[in-house]
Symmetry: D2
Subunit: 140 residues, 4 copies
Amino acid sequence: MTPDELAWRCAEVMWADDTASQKMGMVLNRVATGTATLSMPVRDDMTNGHGTAHGGFIFALADSAFAFACNSRNERTVAQACDIVFSAPAHQGDLLVAAATERHRFGRNGIYDVRVTCGDQIVAEFRGRSRAVGGAHIDC
Amino acid sequence: MTPDELAWRCAEVMWADDTASQKMGMVLNRVATGTATLSMPVRDDMTNGHGTAHGGFIFALADSAFAFACNSRNERTVAQACDIVFSAPAHQGDLLVAAATERHRFGRNGIYDVRVTCGDQIVAEFRGRSRAVGGAHIDC
Amino acid sequence: MTPDELAWRCAEVMWADDTASQKMGMVLNRVATGTATLSMPVRDDMTNGHGTAHGGFIFALADSAFAFACNSRNERTVAQACDIVFSAPAHQGDLLVAAATERHRFGRNGIYDVRVTCGDQIVAEFRGRSRAVGGAHIDC
Amino acid sequence: MTPDELAWRCAEVMWADDTASQKMGMVLNRVATGTATLSMPVRDDMTNGHGTAHGGFIFALADSAFAFACNSRNERTVAQACDIVFSAPAHQGDLLVAAATERHRFGRNGIYDVRVTCGDQIVAEFRGRSRAVGGAHIDC
């Protein structure tokens, strides 16, 4: 199994369990070692009365991309802390894409950057800090 | 109208429009000048297969409390950036409570702290940075 | 020894070693369990040509207050991550005061808030995340 | 004048005024549009008794790199907020290098990432949020 195949296998196991991401309508577009891309259309139940997406759903998409990226080496890893900067609103019907990349790993810690876009527009920049907690997703 | 009545009136206007917070099952428990408390039960569609809440929903609750607190003076105000530290997991059926308090206002900017709890347990600490964008919620 | 006496004893040991804080002209005003207050005058070598303090020195004062607060229980503890919001400039000759308070401790982790003021003016709001690394400052 | 020449001219004006960065022994290695690299040796007056650099000086180096990067387009720009994750200690005698890159600009706001290294070792990851305040560094 190559590292990227391993990343995909870990993602399948996580995804099967991740009711929340499924119910929000996320799609797992790509996973490889240290990286993951997910997309999600903004539904009407994710917006306020003006059709603007609630920041919680933008965060949730970024957070899921972060989770798949930081678990891609088959070490169970959790989010410790995250920050997000909102740079443009998202609207009902928009397809949001969150691309997570690994910035730095040290000891059991990791730093991941996630950019959330809608077409050419950057909607948010997210940074997550992870910590490996022991255990694996799959036996190999 | 007292400042706290004004805060409540602004919250009513915002709430009527806030489909997302309503659909997540949030309840607006308290609003006053610079502060707001919301609660939300963790539903099964907010969890992964092990019954643990997705961080996005914990963030969303904190973000809504932040929004009601920073808009409580009848100045339209948006979230610029937020950070969250997760200190304990939440589980299906937990009632989460997010209490937002104002830490500092300067110029058009504000800093708000939101603590998310489940009973005596602190689930997350959130800090939001807001910016007033002009305009009011209600005429007065 | 009371918890606050212990906090003071830990601070004395740390201070004796902390050449950097001493050379920046910091003074340790107060230490107790989970809290510390330090002050520092802004010297001309801490400013730019317009007499405004470099953000690094404002951060350094807050970071030192954070360090004394999070080490006040005689467990060796380090800074993992910090964020700072600058709300007003500081100037040459200003006496800055940084007051650190404990917000939350969970497992080996802690969250501390530090407010940096000059008189009535809030200059910066800092939040630090700590991690205990094992070992003690003093035998007791 | 090319954009990179403009960046360099802005940096020269800022540097001439930046007593603090000069006195900390920083050297401006490179400036171009949206990016800047500075270096600084860790002096003994920047450390504690064990020869480990105070986090304030690591932050200060990153903050200066951020400042030169976000002012490189001849628009006066200030730091609003910054966060830093410390991943490895720095020691007396180490030469620290901080490389700032532009991540996103929107309206008057910017997000810059700064990596602080010592040789191959990543010492810290810093993210700064800037805001243009009007005015220019040089007439052109």
